[in-house]
């Protein structure tokens, strides 16, 4: 045990101390988040300096005022006694950055509205103004049609249907969209983890074999200890990377909200001015998240991450031990391992649409695909017996595959200069002793 610990330490430390690890772990999310932060910062600064706007309202659409409660258009002034052409010359000098021109028009066929500005106005600004005008026109039309605006509002229908899941614990609200998104994201995450860290294990084993260190180490450590130490060490690297990413994300969120206190307000007001159907989207999402079995999902994520990683890492280790020369050979040999991962991914994309199909059930039980597929189903609260069976099978699969791959690994790392085929590897695996 002490030796496995030594191997784990070495595998972990040599990777974590590498410059490329720091670069990948810290810089990549920083760059991505920094990029988003820059976009947000730009959009905010563009709004806060949203310069004064003039409105030349020849149609008298707004009757000289805009209802504050309906709009967040900040700084505007109605200009009287000017035309489009006459005011075009003057608005810059008067300190307006743009002006909205509303000509006289037939209320049934509005046309000729225009925003003049020195530089292009933002999309959100434009949609805000459009919304404002649409509302004003609607109101006018209601009046000409002799419909009471209050009554119209009362007639207008806007419903959303709840989906209740009836389980033994009682009724729960389900939100299909949220479950879909979360399932998909979890499935993809596991899929990527399996490939990225599995490959890392394979490269580690290949490095040991090609640098001819394997036999030196194996004379002090059992091959199985070396393999397990490597797998656990690299798994630790993966977990470290995740934790750093989580912490970074958390810190950045704090920093961003501290730097731009207006941001949350901004989001809220933008939300308020959205169309009616989307208005309670935020509420829906948060409700949807509440409806998800969050505790179960976190547990399952960790379980399937570990189980899937251990199975695939041992398979990749076996392949790495069989590679004697180059990357190309490795690619050929990894193909049969990539197949079930990709298959799992394909089943997962089907399973998020139809979580209770036979295919989804098979995929979430079979140990080579279950980590990806079950993560895709978990948000839909599959029956408990399926989860338990799937986990049991995963554990059995893990034991079986490590036993199998340890035998391939043991023979493979001491074989030099010979091209090894899958057939031979299978022979090694099932040889007794």
């Amino acid at each position: 045990m002490k030796k496995i610990w030594l191997v784990i330490q070495r595998e972990y430390l040599t990777r974590v101390k590498k410059r490329s690890f720091l670069l990948l772990t810290i810089l990549v999310p920083l760059i991505i988040i920094g990029f988003y932060a820059a976009i947000i910062a730009i959009s905010i600064s563009g709004n806060s300096s949203s310069q004064k706007m003039a409105i030349v309202d020849e149609a008298n659409l707004f009757n000289g005022k805009i209802d504050k409660s309906k709009s967040d258009l900040s700084d505007y002034t109605f200009i009287q006694n000017e035309t489009e052409t006459s005011f075009k010359e003057k608005y810059k000098d008067r300190g307006y950055s743009s002006f909205l021109y509303i000509p006289k028009f037939n209320i049934d066929t509005p046309a000729g509205l225009k925003i003049h500005s020195q530089s292009a106005i933002s999309l959100s600004e434009k949609s805000k103004i459009e919304g404002l005008i649409n509302k004003a026109i609607e109101e006018k039309r209601l009046i000409t049609a002799q419909i009471d605006p209050a009554k119209y509002k009362a007639i207008n229908s806007d419903i959303s249907i709840d989906n209740a899941i009836d389980s033994e614990k009682g009724e729960k609200k389900a939100v299909a969209g949220v479950a879909y998104a979360v399932s998909f994201a979890a499935g993809i995450l596991i899929y990527m983890i399996l490939i990225i860290y599995g490959m890392m294990v394979m490269r580690g084993v290949m490095e040991e074999k090609m640098n001819r260190i394997a036999e030196v180490v194996v004379s002090s450590v059992k091959p199985f200890q070396l393999m397990l130490g490597k797998i656990i060490g690299i798994g630790g690297v993966g977990l470290t990377q995740f934790i750093i990413w989580l912490v970074l994300m958390f810190l950045l969120q704090i920093i961003v909200t501290a730097l731009f206190p207006g941001l949350s307000h901004q989001v809220a007001t933008m939300q308020a001015s959205q169309q009616v159907g989307q208005q309670n989207m935020m509420q829906l999402v948060s409700e949807g998240i509440k409806s998800l079995p969050v505790g179960l999902m976190v547990f399952c994520f960790l379980f399937y991450f570990l189980g899937g990683y251990l199975i695939y890492a041992s398979l990749f280790a076996a392949v790495g031990s069989a590679v004697s020369e180059d990357q190309q050979e490795a690619q050929q040999l990894t193909f049969p391992i990539m197949m079930p991962i990709i298959l799992g991914f394909v089943i997962m994309t089907k399973a998020v649409n139809d979580p209770n199909s036979g295919l989804a059930l098979f995929g979430s039980l079979f140990p080579l695909t279950s980590p990806v597929v079950m993560m895709g189903r978990i948000a839909y609260s599959p029956p408990a017996w399926q989860i338990i069976l799937s986990m049991l099978l995963l554990i059995l699969g893990f034991l079986f595959f490590t036993w199998l791959t340890a035998k391939i690994y043991r023979t493979g790392i001491l074989m030099y200069g010979k091209k090894i085929t899958w057939k031979e590897m299978v022979k090694w695996a099932f040889r007794k002793g």
Binding site: K3, L6, V7, R10, T14, K18, E207, E208, N211, R212, I213, E215, V216, V217, V218, S219, S220, V221, K222, L414, Y416, K427, G433
Partner: protein
């Protein structure tokens, strides 16, 4: 007192009897040569002694006790023929790591590595990486990591390959030194002149079987062919003796093979009677190289695959 006792060791692979019933005994402090052509089963034999493979049959006694691969790794230092080090790891850390795998504590390992680095003038290497080293430097480091934990049994497979004469001598001296301090050394190589120079005892393995076992001197005596070199002031013109045959001439000396039934004194007497002055007279023992070739020759150069029914 024997340090290692190998009894009836067997290891069969699917297509080969890699090691087929080999036994030998090794005395403490001796330097032992394990010889054999390529594919004779040397590596398999060594891998069983180091605990990498389990023998199919037979037993290994190390220091009087049954060899236990799990706990005896600290007693053995093995430098395989296919050897290497982690390229991206710092040299000092690497040496300490390998010593720790042999069971040393971290502080102990660090201290020992430092001592050896001073001894081999490698102090400045500590923070370098293996990829920065030349091949010879790498070999030196490899040797240090093999003997660092003071193993009782040191197994060196082609230890001098890639070393220049100066570093070769350095390692050779160290091997003698370790043997004097009581370590037993198994030395596997194809370089017969090195075996002759270094080893006390040899065994020769071919096709998985032991075909020769003994001290270097005894083996040479066993294979001597009564060949002598005689030096003269001037090579005599006419010789027609029944005692010997002339098999070579060089400068002022003759190489002769004494015929069966006669001794060297008969030859000397013959020259004295002829009144020919003999300047020098010595026996020419066969080199290990000759013995090796003689024994192995005739068998196919590489082993053929055979089916094993075991």
């Amino acid at each position: 007192m024997s340090l290692l006792e190998v009894k009836n060791l067997k290891k069969y692979f699917a297509t080969q009897k890699a090691v087929d019933d080999i036994s030998f005994t090794l005395n403490k402090g001796s330097i032992f040569g394990l010889l054999g052509p390529n594919g004779a089963g040397k590596t398999t034999l060594i891998r069983m002694i180091t605990g990498i493979f389990y023998p199919d049959e037979g037993s290994i006694l190390l220091d009087g006790k049954k060899f236990d691969a799990e706990n005896d790794v600290g007693l053995i230092g093995y430098m395989p023929e296919e050897r290497g080090l982690y390229k991206k790891m710092k040299i000092g850390e690497q040496a300490v790591y390998l010593a720790q795998l042999k069971g040393l504590s971290k502080s102990e390992a660090t201290q020992k590595v430092k001592q050896w680095f001073i001894k081999f003038e490698m102090q400045s290497w500590w923070n370098k990486k293996v990829e920065d080293l030349s091949k010879g430097m790498g070999q030196k480091l490899q040797f240090v990591t093999t003997v660092l934990h003071e193993p009782k049994l040191i197994i060196l497979d082609e230890p001098f390959s890639g070393l220049d004469p100066v570093n070769s001598n350095l390692i050779k001296d160290e091997i003698y030194h370790l043997a004097q301090k009581g370590a037993t050394i198994i030395f596997s190589t194809h370089r017969m002149e090195q075996v002759e120079e270094i080893c006390d005892h040899i065994i020769l393995v071919n096709k998985g079987k032991k075909i020769l076992d003994g001290t270097v001197a005894a083996v040479k005596q066993q294979f001597k062919e009564n060949i002598y070199r005689i030096g003269f002031e001037e090579i005599p013109a006419m010789l027609s003796p029944q005692y010997f045959e002339i098999i070579g001439k060089k400068d002022n000396s003759l190489v002769i093979k004494i015929n069966n039934g006669f001794r060297s004194n008969d030859v000397l007497q013959y020259f004295i009677q002829q009144n020919i002055n003999v300047a020098s007279f010595n026996e020419m023992l066969p080199s290990l190289n000759d013995i090796f070739i003689k024994l192995v020759e005739g068998t196919p150069l590489t082993r053929q695959f055979q089916s094993v029914t075991a």
